[in-house]
């Protein structure tokens, strides 16, 4: 199987050897840490991690390759796994000081290759960038774009409208290097730009933030301008997709004249350019899953993900409804991801 969402985690001190000065000293001497936004105390046993994913020597979940191999890759028979980072640091989400964000992205990428991608044939990576500075971001994509194990550029779903032309150089560079764009929410505020009172409200509505980005990118013409660009929406699930397709198509029929650069039905753009990772799966019957697939109009845009080692991990053996047809299982567990990622297709 191909697991489209695995979170490796860096400890800040591990980044130091990969950081140039003056950036290194801000961590070393000044103990800089990324500003965190989430106001909640997470209610699960071990915060946002699976309680059994803590490394046996006490280090946090996701920090050790050998333990990840044992607990995830070997146990589930992974063919491939795509690393999506811990989103801390998340250079594109940093406020201000873009130069430091750019340096952190570069250090993170080098660390990822050095400590993970070089040591397990099954693992593939994401290029982290500081998108606030699109030119610097493009440089980083150019630097690593041809790395055979880098399959996507990772962008956070935050309060950033990625469809804006300001960010298009990033998409251009990704397309040029056969990299998909991976989008994963990074603590986006959801309620009219604010945080809701309870974690359960926020966690319920994560797909809303994914819908924001998809709508914004489609109507800002990203996929018309970059006809080979692929976008994978990570950790928002897929059950919202039928609604969004129908709503966008209806709106497009009425309001196409506002966005005449969009030349296809939004639902066609979604089917042609996008992929959705499964986790966190709602419990559903086979019949319900088949209805959703039927409404999406394709069984080729959904791809299984575990989200290891986070608390809302989905088990490959248990999360989907039982008794799915073999053909569909093959698509969900590997073929769809293989056909989606330009580098896997080649």
């Amino acid at each position: 199987m191909i697991d489209t969402d695995i979170h490796e985690r860096v400890m800040y001190e591990e980044l130091l050897p990969y950081l140039e000065q003056p950036w290194r000293r801000y961590i070393e001497d000044c103990h800089w840490i990324q500003e965190k936004h989430m106001p909640y105390t997470q209610p699960a046993v071990a915060g946002v991690d699976r309680a059994d994913a803590k490394v046996p020597d006490g280090r946090p979940a996701g920090t050790d390759l050998a333990f990840m191999q044992e607990q995830l890759l070997d146990q589930n028979g992974h063919e491939k796994g795509i690393l999506t980072g811990a989103l801390d640091p998340s250079p594109s989400s940093m406020h201000g000081w873009y130069e430091m964000a750019t340096a952190l992205a570069t250090a993170y990428n080098d660390w990822q290759i050095d400590k993970w991608l070089d040591h397990d044939d099954r693992l593939y990576g994401s290029i982290h960038i500081a998108a606030q500075d699109p030119q610097g971001a493009v440089k980083e994509i150019e630097r690593l774009g041809s790395h055979p194990k880098m399959v996507q550029v990772l962008l956070p779903i935050d309060d950033i409208l990625w469809g804006d032309a300001y960010y298009h150089p990033i998409f251009e560079a990704a397309e040029k290097h056969d990299l998909a764009i991976g989008m994963h929410h990074n603590e986006p505020p959801l309620y009219y730009g604010k945080w809701p009172k309870y974690f359960i409200e926020w966690h319920t509505l994560i797909p809303l933030s994914h819908m924001n980005v998809i709508t914004n990118m489609i109507f800002n013409g990203v996929f018309e301008k970059f006809p080979k660009l692929k976008l994978i929406m990570i950790e928002g699930g897929f059950t919202y997709v039928p609604f969004l397709m129908k709503k966008m198509d209806q709106q497009y029929k009425d309001l196409r004249h506002e966005v005449p650069w969009v030349k296809r039905m939004p639902s066609d753009i979604i089917r042609e350019h996008m992929c959705f990772t499964t986790q966190p799966l709602e419990e559903m019957k086979k019949k319900e899953l088949m209805q959703i697939i039927d409404q999406i109009g394709s069984d080729e845009v959904i791809s299984f993900s575990t989200d290891y080692p986070h608390w809302d991990y989905d088990s490959p053996a248990e999360a989907l409804p039982p008794n799915l047809d073999d053909d569909l299982k093959k698509k969900l567990f590997s073929e769809n991801a293989r056909n989606f990622y330009p580098k896997f297709r080649k």
């Binding site: 699960a44 046993v45 309680a51 059994d52 608390w311 809302d312 991990y313 248990e318």
Partner: protein, 119 residues
């Protein structure tokens, strides 16, 4: 089938341990009142090993928004993955819906040894 799983003093109230019963992995829990309970070590949601979770308490259902009444400390088995709560003193029933439960086994203490029975 029966199996001696530990000495009485190996577990303090509020503690749990993993053990086996025949071919089953089980979790043996000692509740806050000192009694012992045993369950299949497999969450009914997605199969997580419950012994890696936590024996803790849980807020009781309350009548008013903002009102918390933490109770049953040491009697609630919380899954290590998605945090679902099972009441060890109520046959392992899920707090949110008592229709669902983890499989429980009978336990006795004889000569200071904790013994778990299947069937």
């Amino acid at each position: 089938m029966e199996q001696t799983v530990c000495h009485k003093e190996d577990l303090q109230p509020g503690e749990m341990m993993e053990s086996t019963l025949g071919k089953h992995s089980i979790v043996v829990c000692r509740a806050s009142d000192g009694h012992y309970y045993a369950f299949l070590n497999r969450c009914i949601h997605q199969g997580a090993p419950l012994s890696k979770g936590k024996l803790c308490g849980a807020p009781a259902p309350t009548e008013h928004v903002g009102e918390y009444a933490f109770e049953k400390d040491g009697d609630i088995l919380r899954c290590p993955w998605h945090s679902r709560e099972f009441d060890i003193k109520n046959e392992g029933r899920m707090l949110v819906n008592e229709k669902f439960k983890i499989k429980n086994f009978n336990v006795t203490v004889e000569n200071d040894e904790v013994i778990v029975y299947n069937g």
